[in-house]
Symmetry: C2
């Protein structure tokens, strides 16, 4: 008997999260003997619980629309930060979920998301499995942070890494333009894992003359005095010093640098206020070294810049979505699609099903031995791991000088 | 008798400033009957006064190198902020300048820069002219701010405008991802002129559904209460509101919003500190409206993002450089290359020589009547003016997943 497929997106967007969605919908439509309609939940699990379900497979006029969706930033179905409670404390939520699954005759559920979303997918999968509910569940990984375990890397990371590597080259070239001593601090996302910040190394590490001279990651303890020594040393060698720093750098005691160092700061309205670590280090350098200094926060640009996707990343994101459907059809459930690096030169990737249980709530960080001893730069192993992920460009559809994006009609079937 | 050509760059970089340099050097090399060697000064006028002169015409192995230079961000010859004093107070500087001109047998001098640089070019041109020195001087306009008078627009502006229009679409899509009320404030460069901030309108104005709902420019007086009313009104219509604000917005009394509103703010080190207007408005909204709010400063990314040049802008930048040489050869001096819009549909541009005297120190701002009455959005005239400038893309040379940039050997002929 045919069943329908429901797909939803969760957590922070990536530049290729809709590539996975596009691949998944398109592949599902290729199996009409098993999969009936393809539905999307608006705003993830929240949308399921609120019956905000839309039909997605009838919203594509042609193959070009699938292509457009691949280059559309943000989560086309909307997202949420809702974490499914345990079945014991969330009986009402689970009952409601099953009600919606039955109402739309859902036999296949795909959740595109990161760490927390895989935990939610795992809980739902286990609940269905243990209650004999015939709903197969697959997790589709996405995160710019690259902090999911088991999988070699996460779709979404490569594009953010390419944006960061390129942007840091441009910032570095720009910063060197005047003949004076200057420091530019660039704050990059990654609360617990430094993968994104490490990607800033890619131009210089591959032989280029631009990019940060100093790189600080959460995986190596940060020391304020060592940092100031590093900066003074770098300024002796070059006029213009660029520093890449992860938002999540911590002191040896485990506390975040940004939070532990500025308890007294107030904003223009007299409220206590925490500046980011980039701004904090800018003020620190101004105070202790006194040269020209500026800080730049890449903010959401690094996860939304679909105009600069990695070709490798987009292709893998699409393939991950397609593979999710193939796993569901093959009878798999309670699994996530994982990428396995078969070889690095030439770069080859395989796709496999790994238990959601093994992924949920585990964080994948940079091995300390891939960071240099001083904790202010990356080692060759890290560069070798990162480099293949940013290769290749994509042809972004443009109109009137700006990219063209795809948008779903999100009017729910039943409001 | 053949004379040599000297070129220099000054002021803040743009994404295509090296396009003008590339076009200029290449064109100069096409006229060996008139122009001997082509020299570059490192770091603008400062480099001339310090005899940091390099030969540039022998640093290109092939046409591909000229192409690379066109896609290289920042000022490839380095820049300076040095403003030439008047001949009365700067006799030593003028004498030194003539000494260097004579030493390298310079008969042609091209200065690529913005407002202040055209003032410097004008002073040098007048000095040479009045002292019978046979040096012809041409100004080559560049500025992301688009604040030069006489010329229809400035090379460099179109690429920054394209980056801003694209990035604001991406930020707007990203901001709408969660089902909650939120405001995102994006601070854009432009201390006195709002052209760049106005470019954020381009997607929405051309029929797109992404981009800022509210736009604030220095040319319309800013009122804090009206602003809060605007934001509340926009939040009633849509969950996610994006605001584009120029760094230079001012109150009705002419004072900058960012400076007049936060006299008491101190940083983590107890020093007085001025946050940008974006951060100030973020805190204002948090205090008075209380919804989720974030601010983003585009910072130098908007002038350095040569990975997203406007095809129209790059072509015009190159052509402006070529035209400068043609003007010099034709005997023109004390002029700047200006762009004249012959027609808007189809978009056609002519190049003409205008007196440097008419350009130096005059600021070109947005006419108030191109901004809506409420001062929170743009009118159709402004969109029609802006739209052609961001059309077309360029093929950025890539290697190892990141752009390839050109670099001069900057070792001076004599140190």
């Amino acid at each position: 008997m045919k069943k329908n497929l429901l797909v939803a997106q969760s957590g922070g967007p990536t530049a290729v999260i809709n590539g996975s969605l596009s691949g998944l919908i398109r592949e599902a439509m290729c199996h009409p003997e098993v999969i009936g309609a393809v539905y999307g939940a608006v705003n993830g699990i929240e949308g399921i619980l609120q019956d905000r379900i839309i039909r997605v497979d009838d919203q594509f006029a042609s193959a070009a629309d699938f292509e457009l969706l691949c280059h559309t930033p943000s989560s086309a179905l909307g997202s949420c930060r809702f974490k499914m409670p345990s079945p014991e404390s969330g009986a009402a939520e689970y009952a409601r979920l099953l009600e919606i699954f039955r109402k739309y005759e859902i036999g296949f559920f795909a959740y595109i998301g990161g760490n927390d979303s895989m935990d939610t997918a795992n809980k739902i999968a286990n609940y269905c499995y243990e209650h004999g509910e015939e709903v197969r569940v697959v997790g589709v990984p996405k995160t710019i942070d690259n902090d999911l375990p088991v999988t070699d890397h996460c779709p979404g990371f490569g594009s953010a890494a390419k944006y960061i590597a390129t942007t840091l080259m441009e910032i570095s070239a720009d910063s060197a333009v005047y003949p004076l001593k200057s420091v530019t601090v660039v704050e990059i996302m990654g609360r617990n894992a430094g993968w994104l910040t490490a990607a800033s190394s890619l131009s210089r590490a591959l032989g280029g003359s631009y990019g940060p001279q100093l790189i600080y990651l959460p995986e190596a303890a940060f020391d304020v005095d060592c940092f100031l020594d590093d900066v003074r040393g770098a300024l002796e060698k070059e006029d213009s010093v660029v520093i890449a720093v992860s938002e999540g750098v911590r002191l040896a005691d485990g506390s975040y640098v940004a939070e532990s160092m500025q308890s007294g700061q107030v904003d223009a309205f007299g409220h206590k206020y925490l500046a980011g670590v980039g701004k904090y280090l800018e003020r620190l350098i101004a105070d202790r070294i006194g040269c020209k200094v500026r800080s730049i926060e890449l903010s959401v640009l690094q996860r939304a810049a679909s105009h600069l996707q990695s070709g490798t990343d987009l292709a893998e994101a699409i393939r991950t979505g397609e593979t999710a459907v193939q796993f569901l059809i093959a009878g798999k459930t309670r699994v996530m699609v994982a990428l396995r690096r078969i070889s690095n030169e030439p770069y080859r990737i395989g796709y496999e099903a790994v238990p959601l249980e093994a992924v949920a709530n585990v964080e994948h960080k940079i091995p300390r031995e891939w960071i240099n001893e001083a904790g202010n730069g990356v080692r060759e192993e890290l560069v070798r791991y990162l480099a293949p992920l940013i290769q290749g460009e994509t042809a972004v559809p443009m109109k009137d000088g700006v990219p063209v994006h795809f948008a779903f009609d999100k009017t729910p079937i039943e409001g």
